[in-house]
Structures are given as structure tokens and as C-alpha cells.
């Protein structure tokens, strides 16, 4: 666990750096705001409408599908990390086909899931 101390050290230093940069930019430069400067930038014309509008639901669906497959990746990583050790040596070598087959079944299920999402047209963006 002691190896995680540098993570804390660099977190503190990095936050300090970010804070210094933000404060520096606040005080180093002259600040002469005008109405035009403080408007949302829209290529020089008066802003049309507001930016707080509803957005396409496609972004939402992609995030949902991402969650499903990201969990797949999370399950795969620990399996991958010990796979070689289990399969090529060690006390559980006689179970290597089970160890391999189980994950293959899991991946086939997820592959079917991808095909389903695909066929449902969630991945089509130009409809």
C-alpha cells in the first residue's frame, strides 16, 4: 500500500499547480471587460437563442451501450492478468479449458449483445 503515497503527493502538487495557474491568470493581466467581450462567442454576430437546449438522444444511447461494454472490459482485465499463469503452470493447470471456456462463453454473449445493438440501429448516426 505504501507505493500509493506518490499518487497522493502528485495529486497535491498537481492541484497546487492548477490553482497557481488559475490565480496567476486572474491577477497578472489587465482586466477591462466590455459587454461584447462577455457575450458568448458566435463568430461576431449577436448570439441567436440559448445554449441550454435539448440535445440528441443518440449521445445518451451511446453512453448506455458504453457502460455495458466497459463492464465487460472490467471483467476481462483481471482474467487476462492471471490467464498465462493459470494456463501454462501452477496448481490449477488441469482446469485450464474451463478457465478459458468460461470467458469465451462470456465474450460470445457480449458479442451477441453487440450484434443486437447493431441490428437495432443504435450505431447508425446518419438516419
Amino acid at each position: 500500500m505504501v507505493n500509493y503515497v506518490p499518487v497522493l503527493i502528485i495529486l497535491i502538487i498537481a492541484i497546487g499547480m492548477a490553482a497557481i495557474i488559475i490565480i496567476l491568470s486572474r491577477f497578472a493581466a489587465k482586466n477591462r471587460p466590455t459587454r461584447e467581450k462577455l457575450m458568448p462567442y458566435e463568430c461576431g454576430v449577436e448570439p441567436v437563442g440559448t445554449a441550454r437546449e435539448r440535445q440528441s438522444v443518440k449521445f445518451y444511447l451511446v453512453a448506455m451501450v458504453f457502460l455495458l461494454f466497459d463492464i465487460e472490459a472490467v471483467f476481462l482485465v483481471p482474467w487476462a492478468a492471471v490467464f498465462r499463469g493459470v494456463v501454462q503452470s501452477g496448481p490449477y493447470q488441469h482446469l485450464r479449458y474451463v478457465f478459458y471456456g468460461e470467458m469465451m462463453v462470456f465474450m460470445v454473449v457480449l458479442f451477441v449483445g453487440l450484434v443486437y445493438v447493431w441490428r437495432k440501429g443504435i450505431l447508425e448516426w446518419n438516419r
Partner: protein
């Protein structure tokens, strides 16, 4: 314990100093490479007094200029999030580098110093997790600016990054299958043999495919052309950082280039043997040199791609990520694990 703590703090500070300098000079390198590819000269004026030094002082001049630019917070922006967003994307970008090994160990002042700040047994996951946190900064910047272009940029960025993160994560699984560890130090140590040339990519030819997937996905993760839709200059002005000026803009730029450096370093570590190279066993100081050369070569490759390939259209981008890279990386895992199962 105090010694160890001191060593960590010094190493962290040195790494941060090197990283910040590297970011400054990678921006100069980008401008130079762009200029050469477009048959121009590039920045060549800023030097020390009479000495032009091929424009080597350009980053310094840019930095000074940016500090004295007016810092604008738009009236309609969400003030707190607007100020916080660049910090959220910069801090994780700075934090990734501590787990990457850049050499074996050297003896300095009678002390053996290992050339990595720390080793985590989940090092690879740590890097992946931090690169995902960076998305929050971009999304928050896009939303809090209260500007349509920024909002579109932020949304595109989040959709794109989560799509390509899958391909990135799954292509890393293939490497983990071969190396059997998530500890980056261990992954590099495993590539030591054969005069320091037993790099993963030579040892397991299948990883060439994985590297291509990883590299494309990491270009998308770092928002570089051909995947720079979040900041597409010609349609979204500058995307999520349209409203940012002064040092806040610099923070986004720093985060972007830091992510590029991190992605190249991870690619080096996973596929190209990290700091390994000829006669590095006898001369340990060559480790950081080899590491830097490899990372710079990969950064150059990214720049080369940037000025050669046009930008994707959005639907092409999503189609490529979901319908090609994702299935390809899943198939790669299946093939890799089968190969490992049947070889001794």
C-alpha cells in the same frame, strides 16, 4: 521512511518539471513539423538577443504572452464550473506519468535510484482511469461556457471518448494476456531479453494488429486529427475551449499535449519495450535516452498523421469505432488467449 518520502517528492517534482518543459517543446515541435510538411520554415525568430537559435525560445515567449492576456469569464457562463473545468482536465493529465518506468536503475551520490516514481500493481488500470477522468473537464468546459459551439464540442468529445475508450481498454487486454501483469515496471522487465530487443511487438507478431488498434484509439482519446471533432476549428470554432482565454486556455492545451505524451509513453511501454534497447544492461543511463527517442518517434507519427489525413465526418467516426475497432479488439483477445492456451 523520511528518506523514501523525500525521494518520492524529488522524483515527482523532477518528473513534473520535465513534463512541463516537454509539453512546451512538443508544441514547438508540432509547429516545426507542420511547417516542414507544408514546405514552410516555421517559427525561427525567437532566440536570445542576437542568436536566433532556430526559434528554440518560442515556447517561452508564447507562455509569457499568454500570462498577460486578459482572462475573460463570460457573463452567462456558470462561473465555478467554468473556472474548475481546465483544472479537472489538467490534474489527471499530470498524474498519469508517475507509474511509467523510464529506466532501470542508476547510482547517484552512492544511492541506487530506480528510474520510476512508483510501481503500482494496477498501474495500467491507474493510467486508464485517469485518462477517463480527463473527459469530465472537457464536458464541463463545454457545458459551463454556455455557448452552442462549446456544448456541441463537449458532447461530441464525451461520445467519442467513451466509444474509443472501449477499443483502447480491450486492446490493452491483449497485451495483458501476453505479459500476465498490470504492473508497468514488470511489463517492461519482461521485454529485457535478446540484447534488450525482446520487445513485445517483435516477440508476439499478433500484437502489431493490437498496436494499430491501440494507436488509433489513443489518437481519438487525445482528440487529435483525424479525430479532432470536439474542437473542429472549421465548424465548431474551437469546440469546448471557444470561450477560454489566457492561462485557462493554456491549461487545456497543456492537458492535450500531456495526454499525447502519456499515450505515446504507454504505447512505448506496452509494445516497444519501454526503456529497453541495445547494451542498456551495461550502460543503465541509456534507458531514459531510448525511452525518450521512442516516445518522440511516436509523437512525430501522431503529428505526421495530423497533417496528412483529413478529418472524419461524425457518423464515420462513430461507425469506425463501434463497428470496426471494437469487434476487431474482441476478436484479437479471443485469438491471443487461444494462442496462449495451446502454446507452451
Amino acid at each position: 521512511m523520511t528518506n523514501l518520502l523525500l525521494e518520492w517528492i524529488i522524483k515527482t517534482l523532477v518528473i513534473l518539471l520535465i513534463l512541463v518543459t516537454a509539453v512546451a517543446y512538443v508544441t514547438l515541435m508540432e509547429r516545426k513539423v507542420m511547417a516542414w510538411i507544408q514546405m514552410r520554415v516555421g517559427p525561427n525568430r525567437v532566440g536570445l538577443g542576437k542568436f536566433k537559435l532556430w526559434g528554440l525560445m518560442q515556447p517561452l515567449a508564447d507562455g509569457l504572452k499568454m500570462i498577460f492576456k486578459e482572462d475573460i469569464i463570460p457573463l452567462q457562463a456558470n462561473q465555478w464550473l467554468y473556472v474548475l473545468a481546465p483544472a479537472i482536465s489538467l490534474v489527471p493529465a499530470l498524474m498519469t506519468f508517475i507509474v511509467i518506468p523510464y529506466g532501470s536503475e542508476i547510482t547517484l551520490f552512492g544511492r541506487t535510484i530506480e528510474l520510476h516514481v512508483t510501481r503500482l500493481n494496477v498501474g495500467l488500470l491507474y493510467v486508464l482511469a485517469l485518462t477517463s477522468v480527463g473527459v469530465y473537464g472537457i464536458v464541463l468546459a463545454g457545458w459551463s461556457s454556455n455557448n452552442k459551439y462549446s456544448l456541441m464540442g463537449g458532447l461530441r468529445s464525451s461520445a467519442q471518448m467513451i466509444s474509443y475508450e472501449l477499443a483502447l481498454g480491450l486492446s490493452i487486454v491483449s497485451v495483458v494476456l501476453y505479459s500476465g501483469s498490470l504492473d508497468l515496471v514488470e511489463i517492461v522487465d519482461a521485454q529485457r531479453g535478446f540484447h534488450g530487443l525482446a520487445w513485445n511487438i517483435f516477440h508476439y507478431p499478433l500484437l502489431i494488429l493490437v498496436f494499430v488498434i491501440f494507436y488509433i484509439a489513443s489518437l481519438a482519446e487525445t482528440n487529435r486529427t483525424p479525430f479532432d471533432l470536439p474542437e473542429a476549428d472549421s465548424e465548431l470554432v474551437a469546440g469546448y475551449h471557444t470561450e477560454y482565454s489566457s492561462m485557462k486556455f493554456v491549461m487545456f492545451q497543456m492537458a492535450e499535449y500531456l495526454n499525447l505524451i502519456t499515450a505515446s509513453s504507454i504505447a512505448t511501454t506496452l509494445f516497444f519495450g519501454g526503456w529497453n534497447g541495445p547494451s542498456v544492461g551495461r550502460l543503465p543511463f541509456l534507458g531514459p535516452v531510448y525511452f525518450t527517442i521512442k516516445v518522440l518517434a511516436l509523437i512525430f507519427l501522431a503529428m505526421w498523421i495530423r497533417y496528412t489525413v483529413p478529418r472524419f465526418r461524425y457518423d464515420q467516426l462513430m461507425r469506425f469505432g463501434w463497428k470496426f475497432l471494437l469487434p476487431a479488439s474482441i476478436v484479437n483477445i479471443i485469438i491471443s488467449s487461444t494462442v496462449i492456451l495451446f502454446t507452451r
